[in-house]
Symmetry: C2
């Protein structure tokens, strides 16, 4: 067991134009686990209700995700319903949120889980994120965290405390500005890495991701796609690819972090090509490697050699 | 004389938060010419009024811009006034537009201008753009065009006609969608290149540029900046860097177009660091080359070798 994720497992009802899905498998820990499972062993800590389908447990187990930490509580599984604007998938409206068994989620780690060297704290209450970190036997080699505007607005002090304790922070562009109070992204990134994380990933949706590490910036575009169906889960799939690569290689050099960022972008790009985990759960090794290779061609250009000048009139 | 631009020379009054400039030098042909002047000889065709300052002619001539085609008509110079939201520089409001002498602009090319091998038709009435192209002695080696929503909405047929006749189209992301009627950018790009241009540059402001050419896509990020003062002229400075490189090298291979796109991004990034042409007109060769070199580091990562696999659990 090398990579542990604590987060949500949910049923999502999503409507986009004429297309929709009802009670489809979702949740941050689900997307993360399945994406990471292509590269690393993964264990998941989450809670579901009595209505959770055996076929969905089987889907995770089919990817060798360790579901020993998937608690089944009395009540219903967490449900989210939303609608995206088909002409602007960045714009979505939440139609309904039913926390159900997730309202009382209190992650309990087994002895085995407590020893995980790689930990991802998906987007849940920062107090729970900190509690999980405190349950670890020893400080994992790499701890990463995701969060959102809801916690920045409602639990900023707790969030600040857990951010100070992690190595890697995943955060959306607007949330990075909100959390740091800086409108310029470079200033926002400096303010956040000054709090503690040595690595910061600012997510920009269809415009890709910025990686800040050790004073350098890496810009990964989003992979251009002919078909974008459903953006739900893209951020967690990105984190899954990133952390899966980290857990598999342990390479936290700039080289490793940049490759992990590209692999995260690859996994996020597959996620949005279908509803739910329809695409992410059905990938071949070849598809993933081919898209990783194609990624290089997107940004390649011939650099200016040390002794070369630009043309002059 | 190798690169000819036809467009506007204007006085802009710009307000951004507490900062502002009144009647500062602007206009598409101005930004383009000065940016391109670092790499290639440039001639400009435009019209100004009796109030146009000699110091502004001197600024262009100081960059060896050939101003023989800068017509001085009776009346006032084209004026634009606008205000940007300091917290979101993508959002701007036009406060005033006075076309003045620009209302009757009818570009007349001298024999010398008619022979230019590289031509940039900046954002003006597509009927005038087509008229300029028809005045050329022979088809230039490379003709590029910029346009905007105003012409897409008001003169779509004329615009379509001139787009069919050019090699390179510069267009904003939302305008590419509007012009093609396709919301997916890859579909929009295919629809536009099917009309005629072999090269398409879709501008995404702070998110960079997409280059479509010969079935491949190149994604250039915007250079991350600590200070963004005024976005006015960024698109024309981008086009100036791009076409300046083209006119200097003649390299319309994928290699050349990608390097030209990076150089355009470099020139656009300098432009927004100050009001008007304050930064663009005062650059050293070293500053430009250093930023071009830094650009490479933004997107570099170690590709997956042909015989290399991604890690597996």
């Amino acid at each position: 067991m090398s990579l542990l994720v604590v987060g949500s497992v949910a049923y999502d009802s999503v409507k986009i134009g004429a297309e929709s899905r009802t009670d489809a498998l979702g949740g941050s820990a689900t997307y993360f686990s399945v994406a990471a499972s292509y590269f690393s062993d993964v264990s998941l800590i989450a809670v579901v209700g009595e209505d959770f389908r055996e076929s969905d447990v089987a889907l995770m187990q089919g990817h060798n995700v360790d579901t020993a930490g998937l608690e089944r509580a009395s009540g219903s599984t967490f449900r989210w319903a939303g609608e995206y604007d088909p002409d602007d998938l960045n714009s979505r409206e939440t139609l309904d949120t039913q926390l159900n068994v997730f309202a009382d989620f209190s992650p309990k780690l087994s002895d085995d889980h407590r020893g995980a060297p790689y930990l991802f704290l998906a987007n849940i209450d920062p107090a729970l994120q900190l509690d999980v970190l405190n349950q670890m036997e020893e400080r994992p080699k790499l701890v990463a965290l995701d969060t959102m505007n809801f916690w920045i607005e409602g639990k900023k002090d707790e969030l600040q405390k857990v951010v100070e304790a992690v190595d890697v922070l995943f955060i959306d562009e607007t949330e990075a500005r909100m959390f740091s109070g800086k409108s310029n992204l470079l200033h926002a990134a400096s303010a956040i890495t000054d709090m503690g994380p040595h690595t910061l990933l600012i997510k920009r949706g269809e415009h890709g991701v910025l990686l800040f590490h050790d004073g350098s910036i890496f810009v990964a575009p989003a992979f251009p796609l002919e078909t974008v169906v459903d953006p739900t889960g893209a951020g967690d799939s990105f984190a899954g690819g990133f952390m899966g690569y980290m857990a598999a290689t342990g390479d936290i050099s700039s080289r490793g972090l940049r490759r992990a960022t590209v692999l995260g972008s690859v996994m996020g790009s597959f996620c949005v090509e279908a509803f739910s985990l329809e695409r992410t759960s059905a990938l071949s090794k070849e598809e993933i490697e081919n898209r990783f290779r194609a990624f290089g061609g997107l940004t390649d250009f011939e650099h200016l050699a040390e002794d070369e000048s630009l043309p002059r009139p």
